[in-house]
Symmetry: C2
Amino acid sequence: MEGKEKIGWIGTGVMGVPMAGHLMDAGYELAVYNHSKSKSGSLLSRGAKWASSPAEAAANSDIVFSIVGYPKDVEEITLGENGCLKTLKKSGIFCDMTTSSPELARRIAARAADLGCCSLDAPVTGGDVGARDASLSIFVGGDAAAYEKILPCLECMGKKILHCGGPGTGQAAKLANQIAVAGVMFSVCESLLFAQEEGLDVAKWRDLVCSGAAGSIAMTTLGLRMMKLDYSPGFFVDHFVKDLGLCLEECRKMRLVLPGAELAEELYRGIQARGGGSSGTQILISALAGLSGKKWRSHS
Amino acid sequence: MEGKEKIGWIGTGVMGVPMAGHLMDAGYELAVYNHSKSKSGSLLSRGAKWASSPAEAAANSDIVFSIVGYPKDVEEITLGENGCLKTLKKSGIFCDMTTSSPELARRIAARAADLGCCSLDAPVTGGDVGARDASLSIFVGGDAAAYEKILPCLECMGKKILHCGGPGTGQAAKLANQIAVAGVMFSVCESLLFAQEEGLDVAKWRDLVCSGAAGSIAMTTLGLRMMKLDYSPGFFVDHFVKDLGLCLEECRKMRLVLPGAELAEELYRGIQARGGGSSGTQILISALAGLSGKKWRSHS
């Protein structure tokens, strides 16, 4: 292949724009599709081509990346009427970076194989900050040779990249990560709330415990936001509800009971039902206080 | 006061022996009591005096420290028939380092004040390793002047020392710490178990997530022990059940509902009921697997 691969990019939200931007920085040519064109403006003004459908984004591309919202969006942009698998060349590689269902990832990979191309699942962690700093962690599932081919692209976007195994294993690894996040959210929120209700100096208490057996990255980072009543996202409740729902779907298929993850999904679904879906996940502390008719206060 | 204060030390278990040893290293004279004398052997052979009761340990002491098992033990060695408050001199200071009930700490402090002496609560975190390395964190509740007086002693045993407020606040701070620990245990155990059931390379997965939003000190330390099926204590299930019980007792008094802590207490009580009380708390992962009739396996 002469020069760099041509890239199709589907999804230009808060994650997609900086991630695609890193590929442009590295000299890749991009054809960009998003369901609302306006969000692609910054990439188009830097020279990315506009594609009017996922199929068009894939038509002249060697590799197509996507990062969209929900599994139904992933299904539509791949297997749908104008989906990218319709036009992706034989030997082309599709790589979905959305957090989505392992089962859907396997279904897309099977369809891609039928068509003579290849599909990888490669969801990320690290949030909008990681996307901007190119410091994401990336969990990749699917064919090893295809993984090796797109690795230079992934290295433009992330620092830690793990090939987890066959199709769907990237999604499974990401969902395991979200289960761990659910647990640390309980850890941080319940302990801070208990400390407040006991009348402790919550700020001093938090400083002390961050580095001990009770410590977590979330206690250090989100804990600080909670103390300022800063519920801005970081990571949306809506997206966490989606992710935890996918976790429980997997659990049901595997006949695995994880009571902590189930409790977390229930509480976050309640926050969403009460209109908090666009808050950051740290709003859990306010919801937990509300269970007892109490109020989480500022401690900064 | 000429020279160093004389110290009474009550409780020479796995924590008490190294902690008392640090005071001896610093040149303090100790009178030691333990309900079974044999466990005090190493301190007695280094020159500590044997006291045949808590009262005797306190009789000629300026400061009395205790670290025993359960709140009922704390009650007995302080307020009981041969309790140390019976003989502690006016202006003497009693300091209980057991993880115990805030309400009991306040009751002992009130009784001490009636008798013209002073009682502090000062539970610790950091486990047997922290006790040996003198790297404990210590949460202190009670009179500020008394705290200042015993601070040089506490600094022989711990690195991070926080005066939290009045009587009982040291215990409250420690219990908040245990609630945070309960959450991270869910985080680590449920995510590792999910990763295993998904057929992932659990060791590689864990390496990747330790430093991200899913990361915790427990994932780094206890997570590694779990992967080797090493359930040796660290921290006994029996003691964690005690601590979580105290947490829920406080929650009931404060009319505070913490569903994560309640779920943790329930699961750990189940482990205890099935004979696992003397295992380390990381055995939770095996119990969680058992909920679904599955088996946690070695991943090292």
